[in-house]
């Protein structure tokens, strides 16, 4: 079964827009929810992570919003740039291997 569901599958935004990527999880035991960014031909790289006792976390232009009751979390990218074009994966972990969503391919067009 898919423990972390991610949407949308792909997203196109104009430069300066705010793409939003959503994830939902099943296992309430997860205690960290990271986001990874992957460029073509590269491995994923950690972007930002949040614990479930925090409702929002910002790092630079990246913000995670977390809704524990709904078992959902999302990534917002402020003032998106063409260089942000990549595939983004949400994930979850607790004393278990990282469980990844299926990914969102983001294209930021100038």
């Amino acid at each position: 079964q898919q423990q972390v569901k991610q949407s949308p599958q792909s997203l196109i935004v104009q430069k300066g827009g705010i793409p939003i990527i959503n994830c939902a999880y099943e296992n309430t035991a997860f205690d960290y929810f990271p986001w990874y960014q992957q460029f073509p031909g590269k491995g994923p790289a950690l972007l930002i992570a949040i614990r479930p006792d925090v409702s929002e976390k910002k790092e630079g232009r990246f913000t995670i919003s977390f809704n524990k009751s709904a078992k959902q979390f999302s990534l917002h990218i402020m003032d998106s740039q063409p260089g942000d074009s990549a595939t983004y994966f949400c994930a979850a972990i607790r004393d278990t291997p990282l469980v990844f969503g299926k990914g969102t391919r983001l294209s930021v067009i100038a």
Binding site: I93, L98, G103
Partner: protein, 114 residues
């Protein structure tokens, strides 16, 4: 210093051949993970080492897959009698501590089985 490195970057194997994929983790990282990433999908866990001990191999899809990390640093993922469904990118990641969300990934090895 350097990040996680993997070799070869690309491997083409004929069905039935054995392959060996190598991972050099970041120096000093205790934990090492192998993932399989199919085209257009997220990475899926294969196996986990803490130093030389293989603590979790629940993700290995069959007994044709074998991983080792004999000295607690470099790791090798071996696939015997490759099948077409083994075609994927194999990613290696390392982390400083144990089962951590903060994992550093290598560029992967793209395996194509013909």
């Amino acid at each position: 210093g350097a990040g996680v490195s993997q070799s070869p970057r690309y491997k083409v194997a004929k069905r039935g051949q054995d392959v060996a994929l190598r991972c050099d983790p970041i120096s000093g990282h205790v934990s090492l993970f192998w993932y399989q990433q199919a085209l257009g999908q997220g990475p899926e866990f294969l196996t986990y080492f803490q130093n030389e001990a293989q603590l979790d191999k629940s993700g290995l899809p069959s007994d044709r897959f074998f991983a080792e990390r004999p000295e607690g640093s470099v790791s090798t993922l071996k696939i015997q009698r490759t099948q077409q469904e083994d075609s994927a990118v194999y990613l290696c990641a390392s982390s400083f501590g144990g089962m951590s969300y903060e994992q550093y990934f290598g560029p992967g090895t793209r395996l194509t089985v013909t």
